[in-house]
Amino acid sequence: MTHARRERWIAFLMVLPSIILIAIFVYGFIGWTARVALSKWDGIRPDYTWVGLENFRHLLVGQGTTARRFHIDLWNTFFFTLLFMVACVVAGLLLAILLDQKIKGEGIFRTIYLFPMAISFVVTGVVWQWVFAPGTETRLRGVNALLHNMGLDALRWGWYTDTSSIGPFHVALIPVIIAAAWQLTGYTTAMYLAGLRSIPDELRDAARVDGASEIAMYRRIILPMLQPITLSALIILGHISLKIFDLVFTMTGRGTGFVTDVPGIFMFETTFQGNHYSQGAAISIIMLLTIAVVVVPYLIYSFRREVEL
């Protein structure tokens, strides 16, 4: 065997244990979950009786409470993902641009913006639950109390206890989106800052020499160059938000009328409290497929790019 081939063979062997472990503990268990999702395991005793797509049918097009809840979950996930991603990207970009202005104490601000990422979602959920707890007219709490003290009573509302909706969008999701965006905006800020820093100064100087205003420079040159970062940020944020559980569970739970319910919470409650293992597995598989639709094309795209390079 030539030296080069031997090297490649050794490299392959070094990675093989990880591949085997991932094959078993990730893909093996995914396969097993899919098998459970196609069976009728209800209760503590495993039951692998084949029922085909019945669990999926029951969740997606059924007539009962299960389907009602799951439809609400899907809409909640859609709006949460959309608004959360937009909030993180816009806020992250703005903060990064501000940080890029060569201000004093940039390091301190950068650290402050990144701090929330170090906290667990559970802690965030508990604290923001207190912040947005509305209280009542005579016993205001949290932000409502603050607004009252500032004289801004008109801005008070029920926050996550509000069960109204604009079409399929439940307004109770807004506080949850704020909490999640608060936690992860630091991530997009850091990425955009790195991206901004990587744009050579000569480009900016050249643009200014050509007479471009600051706004035009951002619009025409800088933002397009940040596109790959935006794309990868969207993918990462998207896959976090599509399977979000701990933040919502600790902050609001399912909410009255399921206004803040997400598939992750539904899966947890139906499996570990209701003992409906097959139904929980079916929800998990649907979540997996949803995330795969988002992540897999991106992986193929970025893999192809690496190959080309």
Binding site: F29, G31, T161, Q273
Partner: protein, 445 residues
Amino acid sequence: MSRDVRWLIIASLVVVALGVGACGAPAPPPTEEAPVVPTAPPPTEEAPAVPTGSIEIFSWWTAGGEAEGLAAMYDVFAARYPEVEIINATVAGGAGSEAKAVLATRMQAGDPPDSFQVHAGHELIDTWVVADKMEPVTFIFEENNWLDVYPPGVIEVLSSGGDIWSVPVNIHRSNVLWYNKQVFEDNGLTAPTSLDEFFAAGDTLMAAGITPLALGDSGGAWVDLHVFESLLLAHLGPEADRGLWDGTTDWNGPEVTAALEDFARVMEYVNADHSALSWDQAAQLVVDGDAAMTIMGDWAEGYFKSVGLTPDVEFGYVPSPGTAGSFIMLSDSFGLPKGAPNRDGAIAWLTVCGSKEGQDAFNPIKGSIPARTDGDRSLYDVYLQSAMDDFASNEIVPSLPHGAAASEGWVTAAGDAMTLFVADLDVAAAQTAMAQACVDAGVCQ
């Protein structure tokens, strides 16, 4: 080795793993159409053997009066069997949600503790007994002559298929209305005994700017089910209420409709931020006088006492409006899993749990009443004594959200229906969903 070959190896590993995961499911026990009829081992004829070694007791009693009460029972056990080591295996987490998941993992892996805490009734029977994981404990009841000491209503809740499946340590009551005596006095009210009186009192309190009923359901749908089951009982009466859980009462009947309509009406008298409060935060509203009443189980008394109040002084209690004469019970109990590592030790533990000494050690500290009718009244405070009187004389009805009346799958389905109902107050949809939950649980047709 060429690139393609390497990719082929990795890809085929992944496919094989997926396939093995999907198809190589562990050989399932023979699937049967009907739930397994659990078989009892022949009852031991001789006296239980003196246990040795250690026993592992699994529970979620990790804090406060519960943990102290459990420790007191351990002391009783240790006095009888000083040679046996007690391993206190607890899992923290509200109402045992974490503990139940841990327990499920262990039981399915064939690694049961010697005994575990479980709500008496269908939570035990429909989760563990039908899975053939439990030994019946009828022989313990017979050997100790407990059938004379436990009310027949309790024995009924504990039984399935002619056998008794757990030893109840305590009894809690669900249908209690707690109220702030000062608020009632200030507004010239007396404790309501019927739903009409309740709504009338509610109107007076609303006019005075006080929340009539404090509700805190951030902890889950069980709190809403808790209030709802009092309304069901008020409209159905104890006999028909019990029939809801064995299929003899029609969920589509007019009384259930009336109970749902009353629940919708009750929601008008409830604090608007109920989904941001837990049940004890709602109880605190009553303590502070921001709310007048709350419907909660008698663990609420434990809460009131923990903040320094005294029963019949600052707070009062009556059965939920319209339910006087009936006692909605729930019970923490211990069972005997099949394959318990120290079976003699487990049986000895169960004997202590069901004994007068054990129950009188546990319950005064925990804030509940003994399941036996011969508890020492002098050890219990004035509320618990009245509860003991009611327990001995009232009609006993099993509780829905606390595992006595229905299986966990049924409770979660009812809870989901309730979550939707609290938001949209659609009585017809809720009634259909509740009836469907009974069908899905395999009880109704």
